[in-house]
Symmetry: C2
Subunit: 218 residues, 2 copies
């Protein structure tokens, strides 16, 4: 088996705590924070898949905004311009998981990269706001190939940018569908399953499963 | 504008009442019927999208079974072989919406067809069990193109089979994503929104929205 020459991380849910949006959403919509944040995230992913299949790409900022509008409409919540701006800005300031930051600081033996659905603007702001821009040799957005994970073209982009073979890339995600797509593409895959979720039945299994990102250090 | 020369219907949720599964699921998992049936349906669709994007097609019978397994696992419900068979067989005996049957009987001015994600076996059994096999000139499964809606290839199959231009096909679905895909492809689209759902934000709008299938008769 080839040795790992680069580690590539998913951003949303893996390095950055998307779940933290429920607190912010709770401030905007008291009593509905968890429902809004869960619905928003589910719609956001659904739209990436549907638009990829329909070949009607829009960038992740647009999709994230559309998903918020649809979620609030379905929940009969009034999303005025101020609330919308407030919630969208939270997406640019998502916190790193504390344990992720500690793990990243120690994972210096191979180059690190991010491969994310996020638009270049979103990733740049989020990485800078978290103060980790110097930790990653590459911050790669699927925007360049105008399709979303788990399309092979999204993973192929990381191979092109990093310049090592796909079998030499270790891919880390907390999103099972993302691990499945990366595995189907040919990466070595590590599923970080912080919340004890059950695996999806997609005909592929991660190479390794960890509870925390810091377990990668072993 | 060209006149409509064929009407093509989605099956699950449009002609056949997928929501009826909650009663059957309630008998198998008392107190959890609605949760199981909603989760099952959501996972089933999610898997069609993910597998289409990953180019790892499996037919809808396999995907429906996988979605049931994953849903029960996530809900920590024990799915033994008997329960699994029991629930899967419900998918072959879904009832037609009563108003759908009455509407179909009157829509005889143009040829009618079904275009569905369902596998050929599933569609054949379900249509025969409902006693409507003679109403449809074509019962078309996406299985032939090994991808799912809303891929353009799925809708293109209906054009090929029916032999009229896509602008001459009226496409009817209760699933918004399906209407969006059909509209993006080039069909005339009718969204049957029985349960008063809000539209998704996918950059396309149905040509017409009806509350009931029988409203098509107007």
């Amino acid at each position: 088996m080839k040795s790992i020459k680069a580690l590539v991380f998913d951003a949303y849910g893996t390095l950055f705590d998307v779940g933290s949006l429920s607190d912010g959403a709770e401030r905007v919509f008291p009593g509905k924070g968890l429902g809004v944040s869960n619905g928003w995230r589910a719609k956001q992913l659904e739209y990436t898949w549907l638009r990829s299949l329909m070949h009607r790409y829009e960038d992740f900022w647009k999709i994230t905004g559309d998903a918020l509008i649809a979620t609030c409409a379905a929940m009969k919540l009034t999303l005025d311009a101020k609330r919308q701006r407030n919630l969208m800005e939270m997406y640019l300031k998502l916190p790193l998981f504390g344990e992720a930051k500690r793990a990243l600081e120690k994972l210096s033996s191979v180059p690190l990269a991010i491969l994310s659905n996020g638009s270049p603007m979103m990733l740049e702001e989020m990485v800078r706001n978290a103060g980790v821009e110097r930790m990653f040799r590459h911050v790669i957005s699927v925007d360049e190939v105008k399709t979303y994970k788990p399309s092979a073209a999204a993973y192929e982009l990381a191979v092109t940018k990093i310049g090592v073979e796909k079998e030499e890339i270790g891919f880390v995600s907390s999103n099972f569908f993302d691990v499945a797509g990366a595995k189907a593409f040919g990466f070595r895959t590590y599923w970080v399953n912080r919340s004890g979720r059950t695996a999806d039945e997609l005909g592929v299994s991660p190479d390794r499963i960890f509870r925390l990102l810091s377990d990668l250090l072993e």
